[in-house]
C-alpha cells in the first residue's frame, strides 16, 4: 500500500524530469536565491511563522525554513515572494509539523 502511494506521487515528478521542466514551476517548491549572505529571496513561501531581528522562520511546502542572523529586515513581501536583507548567518530546513 505504502509503495503504491510513493509510486503514484512520483509520476508527475518523473514527467517533469523527462520533459526537463523545472520542478518549482510545477509544484510549489520554494526557490531560494541568495546574494552573498546579505540578501535572500524566497519564492513560493507560504507564511511567516516568526519574525525577530535576529531570526526569521518561514513555512513553505512540506518544510520550515529558519534564518539566523543580525539586522534582518523584510524589504518586500508579497503573497508569492519574500525578500530579506541583513547579515544572514545560517539557514536551517526542517520538516513542518502539521
Amino acid at each position: 500500500m505504502k509503495r503504491r502511494k510513493t509510486a503514484k506521487h512520483n509520476i508527475p515528478k518523473k514527467i517533469a524530469k523527462t520533459l526537463d521542466i523545472p520542478e518549482d514551476i510545477l509544484f510549489d517548491i520554494p526557490r531560494i536565491t541568495m546574494m552573498s549572505n546579505r540578501e535572500l529571496r524566497i519564492e513560493n513561501y507560504k507564511s511567516i511563522l516568526e519574525y525577530e531581528s535576529d531570526k526569521i522562520s518561514l513555512s513553505a511546502k512540506e518544510m520550515m525554513i529558519e534564518l539566523h542572523g543580525a539586522d534582518l529586515d523584510i524589504t518586500i513581501i508579497t503573497d508569492e515572494e519574500i525578500c530579506i536583507t541583513g547579515y544572514i548567518v545560517s539557514i536551517e530546513f526542517s520538516k513542518l509539523r502539521s
Binding site: S47, Y51, I77, D79
Partner: protein
C-alpha cells in the same frame, strides 16, 4: 531615485508602526490580500515598522482589528502630502502661479538678438538694419515675419549673401553668410597693357601676347608700359588690340628702415586676482559692488558673459601683473629687427620671388633705441595687367 520610488513618491506612502503580539500574522494576512508592505523592520519585540501606500492603508483597519494589532502612522511621505501642506498657504500658491505666468509671458518676447556667421560686416550694422525692418528687442516673438525680415535685410545690406532669423525661445539668432568678393575679370578680347608694378631693372622677359616696349637690362619706373596690347598690322594700315600677357622678371631693390627699442618688457603675474560682476538688464549695466574701474595699475582682464531671458551677467577677472624692463644688446635687437622687416617684405613682394641678396646694418640712435636698416634685392615678376580703352572708331 529609482522609478518605483518615484511612482510611490507621487502616489504618496506612509511609514507605520504595527504594535501587537501577532505582527507576523498581520504581515501574512497583508501578503495574502495582496497589500504591499516594504522595508519591514522589527524595532522592538512587539512592534514592527514598515511602509505602505496610502491607498492600501485604507484596507488595514479590518486586518488590524482581526489580527489584534494597533497601527500608527509615523511619517507621511510623498507629493500628495506636500501639496496638502501648501493648500492652506493660498498666498504662496498664488505667488507660484504668478511666477509661472511671468515666465510664460516673458518667453513671448524677444530678449536678445545674436548674430552669427559675420566676419567683415559689424554686428551693429546687421542689428540696425534688422531694427529698421521691424525686429526689435522687446517685441512679441509671434510677430516676427522671417521671410519679410530676410528680404528686407538682404536688400539693405548688399554685402550679405544669405540671412535667416531663427527663433529660439526668447532669443533670436540671426544667421548670416557674407558675399565673397568677385575678383576683377578680364575677358580675353579686352585691350590690356602690361605695366611695371615697381621700379626695377629687367632681367628676363617672356612675352606670351603683345609687343614688348622695353628691353632686357633696361631700368623701368613703376607704371611704365612694358608690353603693349596694341599690335600694328602694316598690311591693313591699322592696329589690332589684344590682351597683352607676359612674365617679366626684374631685379627690385628694397630699402627699409625701422626704429626698435632696446628695452624689452616682460609681464609677470603677481597672483592677485579680483572678480567684478556686472548685471545687464534691458540695455543697462548695473555694476555689483564695484565702480567699473580696474583695481590694479597693470593687469590682464578676461571677460565671461552669460545671458538668460535678456538678463545678462558678466564676470570680469582682473589679474595683477608686474612689468619688468630689460636692456637687450645691440646685436640681438638688430637681428630681431631685421627678421621683422624681412617678414614684412616677404608679404610685400610678388609671390614666387627669390631673394638675391640682403644686407643688414644698424645705427644706435640713443641709449634705448636702434635704427635697423635692411637692403634686399629680389628677383620678382613685376608684370601687372592694366585695362585700356580701345580708341573710338577703331578695332
Amino acid at each position: 531615485m529609482s522609478v518605483p520610488a518615484l511612482i510611490s513618491y507621487f502616489r504618496g506612502y506612509l511609514t507605520i508602526t504595527v504594535t501587537g503580539r501577532f505582527c507576523e500574522r498581520f504581515i501574512n494576512v497583508c501578503a495574502g490580500r495582496k497589500i504591499l508592505l516594504w522595508d519591514i523592520k522589527k524595532i522592538s519585540p512587539y512592534s514592527v515598522r514598515c511602509k505602505i501606500s496610502v491607498s492600501a492603508f485604507k484596507k488595514l483597519a479590518s486586518i488590524a482589528y482581526h489580527t489584534g494589532v494597533a497601527v500608527h502612522i509615523n511619517i507621511k511621505h510623498g507629493f500628495p502630502f506636500f501639496l496638502r501642506k501648501y493648500k492652506k498657504r493660498k498666498i504662496a500658491l498664488f505667488g507660484a502661479l504668478i511666477f509661472l505666468i511671468a515666465v510664460i509671458a516673458a518667453n513671448q518676447f524677444v530678449w536678445d538678438i545674436e548674430v552669427r556667421g559675420n566676419y567683415k560686416i559689424p554686428e551693429e550694422k546687421i542689428i540696425t538694419a534688422l531694427n529698421e525692418s521691424g525686429l526689435k528687442i522687446g517685441m512679441p516673438i509671434s510677430r516676427i515675419d522671417q521671410q519679410e525680415l530676410k528680404k528686407d535685410a538682404l536688400l539693405k545690406i548688399p554685402e550679405l549673401a544669405w540671412l535667416w532669423v531663427e527663433k529660439k525661445g526668447s532669443k533670436v539668432i540671426v544667421d548670416v553668410r557674407e558675399k565673397i568678393e568677385v575678383p576683377e575679370m578680364f575677358s580675353p578680347s579686352d585691350y590690356c597693357n602690361i605695366v611695371a608694378s615697381k621700379d626695377a631693372i629687367i632681367e628676363n622677359m617672356t612675352v606670351k601676347n603683345g609687343v614688348p616696349v622695353v628691353e632686357k637690362g633696361e631700368t623701368v619706373l613703376a607704371g611704365t608700359v612694358l608690353v603693349t596690347g596694341k599690335i600694328p598690322v602694316p598690311a591693313k594700315m591699322l592696329d589690332r588690340y589684344v590682351r597683352a600677357d607676359a612674365e617679366i622678371l626684374a631685379r627690385v631693390w628694397y630699402d627699409r628702415r625701422e626704429v626698435f627699442s632696446k628695452i624689452s618688457t616682460t609681464r609677470h603675474e603677481t597672483g592677485n586676482t579680483k572678480n567684478h560682476y556686472t548685471l545687464h538688464f534691458l540695455g543697462k549695466d548695473i555694476p555689483l559692488f564695484h565702480k567699473n574701474k580696474s583695481p590694479y595699475k597693470e593687469f590682464d582682464v578676461t571677460e565671461k558673459r552669460y545671458t538668460l531671458f535678456g538678463l545678462g551677467f558678466t564676470k570680469k577677472s582682473y589679474e595683477e601683473i608686474t612689468l619688468q624692463e630689460e636692456f637687450l644688446s645691440d646685436g640681438s635687437v638688430a637681428d630681431f629687427g631685421a627678421a621683422q622687416i624681412m617678414q614684412k617684405l616677404e608679404e610685400e613682394v610678388a609671390p614666387n620671388s627669390t631673394l638675391k641678396s640682403s644686407e643688414v646694418s644698424y645705427t644706435v640712435l640713443n641709449d634705448s633705441t636702434i635704427e635697423v636698416c635692411v637692403k634686399a634685392e629680389y628677383l620678382e615678376n613685376i608684370a601687372i595687367a592694366q585695362k585700356e580703352e580701345v580708341p573710338e572708331g577703331l578695332n
